[in-house]
Symmetry: C2
Amino acid sequence: MIDDTTTLGELDEEHILAELLPVLTRHTSATVRVGVGDDAAVLAAHVSVVATTDTMVKGVDWRDDWSLPQEVGRKLVAQNVSDLAAMGARPTGLLLTVASEPNLPLRWLLQLGEGVSAAAAEAGTVVVGGDVSAAPGGVVLLGMTAIGDLEGRAPVTRAGARPGDVVAVRGSLGRSGAGLRLLGQGAAREEMTGAAAQLVADHCAPRPPWEAGAEAAAAGATSMIDLSDGLVRDASRVARASDVRLDLESDLLAVQVAALAEVVGEEAAWADVLGGGEEHSLLATFGPTARPPHGWLAIGAVAAAHDAESPVTLDGQRVEVTGWDHFDRSTAGREGVAGPRALPGTTKGRSETDRP
Amino acid sequence: MIDDTTTLGELDEEHILAELLPVLTRHTSATVRVGVGDDAAVLAAHVSVVATTDTMVKGVDWRDDWSLPQEVGRKLVAQNVSDLAAMGARPTGLLLTVASEPNLPLRWLLQLGEGVSAAAAEAGTVVVGGDVSAAPGGVVLLGMTAIGDLEGRAPVTRAGARPGDVVAVRGSLGRSGAGLRLLGQGAAREEMTGAAAQLVADHCAPRPPWEAGAEAAAAGATSMIDLSDGLVRDASRVARASDVRLDLESDLLAVQVAALAEVVGEEAAWADVLGGGEEHSLLATFGPTARPPHGWLAIGAVAAAHDAESPVTLDGQRVEVTGWDHFDRSTAGREGVAGPRALPGTTKGRSETDRP
């Protein structure tokens, strides 16, 4: 008898899958030739296949008192699909891994599945396989692999930015970081309303611009990256991979800051826009004659790199964000923006529970 | 200063990856267009993409006192590549996920990487991406996703077996189960020699017939499955998916039993051949006029199914193996072969540590 109090330890794998798979495969996709239930999934593709994977660990990447299971499922899809989008690909299938302590409620898993399924459908894809296994007490680990199709286009890597290119962003900046900041300040989620509640919701279940990556690739983006670790940190990765400098302009970021400042204050808003993680918006560069598709916001320009120079500048000044790292405990709680434009209190946002 | 005593908690992600990636990418592959280091990997493919994923949890799927890290790495690759092979595909890229407690020695991770890298090279593929994240104390979880290419062939599913087909196996039977049986009996690995030591090695690091799946597909296999949960249990899956019955013949299995019987005795050898898990050999069916490729051993024939009948028979008698299940603790320690040909003590072999 399965009800809302059933835990995974009371069921065998077959019964767990019998409950979970209908939730995960509620939607269909034309690119799936063989879905769940065989040794492996078979996905239609053109010439190249794009693949990425990400893991979320309870107590490290989410907290049950902050995030609903549906939101955790959405976030898992968002992280992976935005990595595909950053290559210029569209998703063709998702593989979901669950490694859990036996006393996880089945209800939680099915609600996670609802979030996965809904976000996958928004992104135009479905779950085509995965793995469920037991883990020691206290452990709930979720893994996702997303497979994507370039539809004949060349992949857009981090290494193609050239001096003279425009730097542009698609999607919001700093909202996830600001939401984490509010949660970290101890505010109870159920008492939040309006803009604050929306920032927290955007942290718990980001909604990346699913379509924008393929559109940017088709429009000739020269480089692209998913903003998972903060604007400055991810822009630095493009700069280093392309051997260029990215010059950002604060005037062009002001509209993003203003949207946050009314809730978290201007100083924190700047820190979140420059350094807040888990936003999963896209940063791309476009050649000087290319026209970024609708919805992309120019935020700066690409310049030639010179040795020993900051890879990213803001209004011509060095800007550097020291971020949070999964393994290096010495950085936890020491986040901040360094340099001439020092902006304390940057929410790096990779971890909900490792913050002070 | 990194040495053999360094743990993951002493390093940041960047340094962990700087150590691990050279180990993982020691070999190259012509199907990789963009490997590790960008948002996602890009793999060359023909028309369809095959994808599968598997997870191994320390304390559930391996024990550090039984398995070397290189062996755990080999087993992770074996599980995944054999799932691709069972669809008729060749691997084009692997994604590796590590979620670990911070005090895991880096040395262990690099030795795992050596096993992954070596097994991947044998299978003709490489690691093209992945994810490293922190997990709570006591937890080491490994995930792998394998992406494969059908090279223009149709996928070989579990559902294509037809009455009159030949049932054939490629690779060994029961060796991994027998090796687990020896470990479970408390024998110290370093004191084992000869055939016993080899059975244990085959359990800790199975070497599936990497190439055989694509060859069988090209030769017209009508159905195929990876033997991960035991011959009878996996044959039953093919029978149910194809709506047929698989009739196995003990005479044709005798050679496999004889190889084990000298070490574990005849009764245990039968139990391991029929029910032992984690072998990762392939079971396929071939049409009556098809010629299975070199190395495939005929072990029976496909018959029409009748209602309420056993999906698999041995010498015309019902045979059923009750196996171990990851979540259902009530089955742990109650493994065995039921029915007329009852063979007690079957090693199901999905778990090293949940055995009595």
